[in-house]
Symmetry: C2
Subunit: 333 residues, 2 copies
Amino acid sequence: MIQSPYLLFLGDAPDALAAKVAQGIKDWRPEACLGQYRMEGCKANLGLEDLTLAEAAERGAKTLVIGVANRGGYISDSWKEVLKDAMDHGMDIASGLHNLLRNDEELSRRAQRTGMSLFDVRIPTVSFPIANGKKRTGKRCLAVGTDCSVGKMYTGLAMEKVMRERGMDADFRATGQTGILITGNGVPLDAVVADFMAGSIEYITPDNDPDHWDLIEGQGSLFHASYSGVTLALVHGGQPDALVLCHEPSRAHMRGLPDYKLPSLEDLRDTALHMARMVNPACQVVGISVNTSSMSEDDAVAYLKETEARMGLPTVDPFRHGADRLVDALAGV
Amino acid sequence: MIQSPYLLFLGDAPDALAAKVAQGIKDWRPEACLGQYRMEGCKANLGLEDLTLAEAAERGAKTLVIGVANRGGYISDSWKEVLKDAMDHGMDIASGLHNLLRNDEELSRRAQRTGMSLFDVRIPTVSFPIANGKKRTGKRCLAVGTDCSVGKMYTGLAMEKVMRERGMDADFRATGQTGILITGNGVPLDAVVADFMAGSIEYITPDNDPDHWDLIEGQGSLFHASYSGVTLALVHGGQPDALVLCHEPSRAHMRGLPDYKLPSLEDLRDTALHMARMVNPACQVVGISVNTSSMSEDDAVAYLKETEARMGLPTVDPFRHGADRLVDALAGV
């Protein structure tokens, strides 16, 4: 478990998008965020207080979280001095970057000397079992997408928030590095060895109380040539009772694949349901989550209304209008 | 590349099934097999000449191939003396077991001292790219199954044999350890990190001559809760032009999953074709391969005939009757 509170490190982020990991943590775990640390030239700003390392340490910061991604996802040399100083100030370091903190000699040495920990959330820390496909108690909801990066994590977190506000028993189950940094645990599914993918999802969504909901973070898309296998492992390891379809209407093609058009929501519904029912015949599609960030409010409302009428399913943009109607729809499962 | 000729090590196999890796090598690469090495209590017998290490070395054996799997797939202590002796006799060691030769201190030390090589074919030796989904030249055929271990590898190898006999340009592309030991290369797909599964299949089936066929070894099943993600990565990374459906009619349930019935051949056809056409709209199902080893000849013939009539596709047991009709069916693709 990564210890909070956090100091969010934005480094020299060239734009706001580069700091989207930090943004996610701030959006979903504001109580864990003491402040932000920005280097010269940083173009991202979360609206948190800018703190020096000394100030953050004084206020009790336990972990400096690298909330920024370089092109290529590596640890830039210019960051290293800050990371080492943070350890000198008594903070652990957490990172979801591709190249690992632990593989950097300077950082490793400093961690050893200061007794601080380096958390590389991109690397699985558990030896996962092979999935056994057995029915588990409790309920599970999985977000599946027409494409990668269409709002599946956001949808799950927004549903968890509403459910907890309503006093329901719900846990977001992270399957990617941002989700893990937000919740403090989970499985970095894209880094798991093929044979153990579905087993890792069974592992993080074990038997639970009958009324408990796991909100499993989706990954990739069943229609995405690069990552579909990861997605199917989520569907079969998760054994979802409920599916939420996620979509981003402005995409001209599948992310990173210029030759591939996105599937229709109907095709996603039918394909995901067919695959999910292999492991849970009672699985239902309960709603649709659309990322309408590219649209005006009027266009978004019209699009959601049209889609809802066409598909016969509650259709919302949880960022714009909240996830209440998606949570309402779980009552029927 | 693993050097032949081989001495096939059967160890203390408790039954013939435990030595199925060795059996596969002997069936498909008989010219590479000098003989077998059996320890006391071995219950498997390939019908090859039993050789001592000295005899095998004298006849030019280059590699001792571990053709037997323990329960759990580890290197048993009782084998180690033989493996070390084999290195003393100038043989490399090749293994597809889960625990690695290279991680065993005694074996590593002996390899270093003798200058021999340890091949762990279960571990990827390449840093694979993420799949790009681009159309490649040449043609590809993939075997997909109603379950694991229903004859997908056998089907591909049998088709390769017929095609080469006919002078066609064809290569079996191994995706599992037995296949790799048979052909000398390939990708151990179940050991590849999730994000790179589909990319590894693109890597081993690159652009080729228009008339060239890759016969891609299938893995798992789209319907198998433990391994379906691996299978979908094969379908989407392979971009097959042709699918062969594989089935074993005597199974009471999915392998290792007592609560799961096998899907029908119709369901496999529809599901596999739907998923394959996402990446190759021209993909066709060309035939059906049935493992009828549990049936009498009469029953097998009747079953194949009935299935062929029902499905409208050439249906054969390639072990009993050859793969000619499956190869004939590729002409229409």
